[in-house]
């Protein structure tokens, strides 16, 4: 029989299926979103190379200077180069978006996946998530700052806590749905154990709906970081972050209206980029 030929087909088929799944990001709004996010990510990663000045360096004589060849985005009230601060500030958001959100998502998914296995654990977990969901994020942020003091660590904890119940709920819902599907029951009847079912069938088939939420959460996380730093709950000066830059910009908006433009554009690009990605993926799934 043509087993050799068949195995040759296998990788090609797999690649094609994967290409289909991510095809949404290769054109239209998905592509626009990816490009926007990628630009910001590259700018943040290359900040040490790209930034013309040290983000905390005070430049004599350049106080609230308007954009010029030397300072593309101008300077702030203590004579620092805003472009350099924006580029370095992006890195905080990168940590938040690509570390805190995935950690919160992973913990939430783990809870959602495991808690339905045991009736009591399920009830307890769900009530716990209810409590977390009931807290508005900013109240959570203020409480966490009161307990831990302001800083990147606090922002990360707040974002993990904010994402955990969302992913916990979503994962649980799709787990319950997938667990009752005929192919999972068939596997159960033929003697597959609970871990086998979770690992082979339930988890892979529950994850896909979560990718949309992941992109949405990433955009929300940028927003949370901005809000926390804006309120002074986040990154402490003199370290720059997009939120604290906007705060400084707003304070000086009368004397230097250009100040706030740079950080706002970057935040908008990140939020909009992730939302476009989320929309593109969910449109693809509906098809």
């Amino acid at each position: 029989m043509s087993t050799a030929a068949v195995t040759e087909v296998a990788p090609a088929e797999g690649v094609r299926a994967r290409r289909l799944r991510w095809g949404a990001l290769a054109h239209g709004q998905g592509l626009v979103g990816v490009v926007m996010v990628a630009l910001v990510v590259v700018a943040g990663l290359l900040a040490p190379v790209l930034a013309p000045y040290d983000p905390t360096q005070q430049i004599p004589g350049a106080n609230l200077a308007p954009p010029s060849a030397a300072h593309w985005l101008g300077t702030d009230e203590v004579n620092r180069d805003i472009l350099s601060r924006v580029l370095h500030g992006i890195r905080i958001d990168l940590v938040v978006v690509f570390l805190a959100v995935p950690v919160g998502a992973a913990l939430g998914v783990a809870l959602g996946l495991l808690s339905p296995l045991h009736a009591w654990a399920d009830v307890a977990t769900q009530r716990l998530l209810d409590v977390l969901l009931a807290f508005p994020v900013l109240i959570l942020a203020i409480t966490a700052t009161a307990a831990m003091g302001p800083g990147l660590r606090t922002i990360a904890v707040v974002i993990v806590l904010a994402e955990l119940p969302i992913f916990g709920r979503l994962a649980r819902t799709s787990v319950l749905k997938v667990r009752a599907l005929p192919y999972v029951e068939s596997a159960r009847v033929m003697g597959a154990g609970e871990t086998w079912l979770l690992r082979k069938h339930v988890l892979p088939n529950s994850l896909e709906p979560l990718t949309v939420q992941l992109a949405v959460s990433m955009s929300v996380a940028v927003f949370i970081e901005g809000a926390m730093s804006f309120l002074g709950l986040g990154v402490r000066p003199p370290d720059p972050s997009l939120g604290s830059l906007i705060k400084d910009g707003i304070r000086n908006v009368w004397e230097a209206p250009f100040f706030v433009v740079g950080p706002l554009v970057v935040v908008s690009m990140l939020v909009l980029g992730f939302l476009l990605v989320a929309q593109a993926i969910s449109a693809q799934r509906r098809r």
Partner: protein, 555 residues
């Protein structure tokens, strides 16, 4: 091109009620959905449009009422009482719908709006075509319910859909369609979702309504038995083309086109009463422990907020001997699926015992249960969900081997190709994923997966009910052959008596959770002892034209 059909006196003068000429419906699709269909329906005539999935029968009906999906382009001509429907403005179409043509939808569970009373929905239909006073509308609504033979219509008019049974809901759907006295009824699989006994009632009602109102009916169905009961003329569709058109008696007596013959041949039939039952030799009883034994089993769905506990199955005792196929039949709500799940150990028995291969499922440890389940397999109903969408065919079939760590990669691959061969699937399909397969192919893969470990007991829950008849016939034939070769025992759950008759040695008839009758298949279907079984058997629409069936029953 004229196709001969029944001529009625009033038809020769006026144009026919509906005349579809050279209808083509195109999508951005490799092949047009409909390629040149001609159909006419006269006043008071019932014409059946028959075909399997993808034949274009539903698309044709939708074109008549101007409800084609977005992106569909229809050309040709559809004349209703002499007026052209294709290309008519949305306003004209709106006037036409309800008053000229009305549609009876397939799914009575979802067709009525669940948050409005039956009366509200009927009044809405009445008021859509002209102002009617509230009192008048209510009166008319009650009259409509009476017309569709709903008992106590004055009370029922204030009921919500969930308070009605499936059959009553379908009657309400009929009443909605009749509200504005349409001259043409489009009935799209009007009884497919119903139990056979209810189906028989609805079909009889449709016939009576046609007699009363004189409306023409275009009946869309895949069920030859329904066609035989109701239709006067039959148009057989295949892949968007008419393959044969004939009066119903001639079509059944001497089908001309090979496809029609194939379609008729594929319909599983019950033996008619006149034939002497041919008794199959019973499998040797008591030779060894039964493959499955249920003793006085009760299954209870526990009480949930505001709902009392529900006993789905009670006091059920029967066994499936080794190498024997036992059919479990019953209508919806009879508990047959629940019982199948209890036998598979997916639901615990509240009382009584379930023995699989001599082991009591309730007393086994998790590890021992897994061992017992090695000899157990399930073939689920819905081909769309019977396979993991992420698994390739080969991986799905090999899953039982992987679970129980049987053999190495090479021997598993060999077993997979062996099984693909056994279920008559092309080995080239091994690396496909379920969405690239047809429904019939998917069920074959599910069957192959079930057989991977040479099970002693296979539990099949309506494995073919979602398939077209010709595909169903192939899968059943394959099943019977494999069962004979491999000798596994099988609990075959189905609502379709004819299918169960074809595959089973013995039959258990369930009704509302209780066993009504059990015995050898030929005996139960040939000479049913219980009244309910008799009604069930009588209600199966046989693919024999109505008058002949009647004649046969009388003789």
């Amino acid at each position: 091109m004229t196709v001969p059909h029944l001529h009625r006196a009033d038809q020769t003068a006026a144009p026919p009620l509906l005349r579809v000429r050279d209808l083509r419906i195109d999508f951005a699709h490799p092949r047009p959905a409909v390629e040149g269909i001609d159909v006419t329906v006269g006043r008071g005539e019932i014409v059946a449009l028959v075909g399997e999935s993808g034949s274009g029968k539903s698309m044709t009906a939708r074109a008549v009422i101007g409800l084609l999906p977005r992106g569909a382009v229809a050309t040709g001509s559809i004349e209703l009482e002499g007026r052209e429907v294709l290309g008519a403005s949305e306003e004209d179409l709106r006037r036409l719908r309800g008053a000229g043509v009305a549609m009876v939808f397939q799914e009575p569970q979802t067709a009525p709006n669940p948050v409005r009373t039956v009366g509200w929905q009927l009044r809405e239909a009445l008021r859509a075509h002209g102002a009617v006073s509230r009192a008048e509308a209510r009166e008319r609504a009650v009259a409509l319910l009476r017309q569709v033979e709903i008992p106590d219509p004055e009370t029922r008019v204030d009921h919500y859909p969930h308070q009605l049974s499936g059959g009553q809901k379908q009657r309400v759907v009929l009443a909605l369609a009749l509200a504005n006295e349409p001259s043409l009824l489009l009935a799209d699989e009007p009884t497919t979702a119903l139990d056979v006994t209810v189906q028989a009632e609805i079909l009889a009602l449709l016939g009576r309504l046609r007699d009363e109102t004189g409306a023409g009916v275009l009946l869309i169905t895949h069920n030859m038995g329904v066609v035989a009961r109701l239709a006067q003329r039959v148009v057989v569709l295949r892949e968007g083309r008419v393959v044969e058109e004939a009066p119903v008696r001639r079509l059944f007596a001497e089908p001309e086109h090979p496809y029609t013959r194939q379609l008729l041949g594929a319909v599983p039939r019950l033996p008619s009463g006149s034939e002497p039952p041919t008794l199959a030799p019973p499998p040797e009883a008591g030779a060894s422990a039964a493959a499955l034994r249920l003793d006085d089993v009760r299954v209870v769905y526990p009480a949930r907020r505001g709902q009392a506990a529900f006993t789905a199955v009670d006091g059920v005792t029967f066994e499936v001997r080794r190498g024997e196929v036992v059919g479990l039949v019953g209508e919806s709500g009879s508990g047959k699926t629940t019982l199948g799940r209890a036998a598979a150990g997916l639901l615990p028995a509240a009382a009584g015992t379930v023995h699989v291969g001599g082991a009591d499922l309730a007393t086994l440890s998790a590890r021992a249960l897994r061992g017992v389940r090695r000899g157990l397999a399930l073939v689920p109903q819905d081909p769309a969900a019977s396979l993991d969408p992420r698994f390739t065919v080969a991986r799905s079939i090999a899953e039982p081997l992987d679970v129980h760590r049987v053999g190495d990669a090479a021997s598993r691959a060999a077993r997979v190709s062996e099984l693909l061969d056994a279920v008559r699937l092309d080995p080239g399909l091994a690396q496909r994923r379920p969405h690239q397969l047809s429904g019939g192919q998917r069920q074959r893969v599910a069957l192959a997966r079930g057989l991977a470990l040479d099970p002693t007991l296979l539990i099949a829950d309506e494995p073919t009910s979602a398939l077209d008849v010709s595909i169903q016939a192939e899968v059943l034939e394959l099943f019977t052959r494999l069962q004979r070769e491999l000798g596994f025992a099988c609990l075959f759950v189905s609502h379709d008596l004819a299918v169960v008759h074809q595959v089973s040695d013995r039959v258990v008839v369930l009704r509302e959770g209780l066993v009504v009758e059990q015995g050898p298949a030929e005996r139960v279907f040939g000479a049913p002892e219980h009244d309910y079984t008799r009604r069930l058997v009588a209600a199966v629409p046989e693919p024999v034209p109505a008058e002949e069936a009647q004649a046969r029953r009388v003789s």
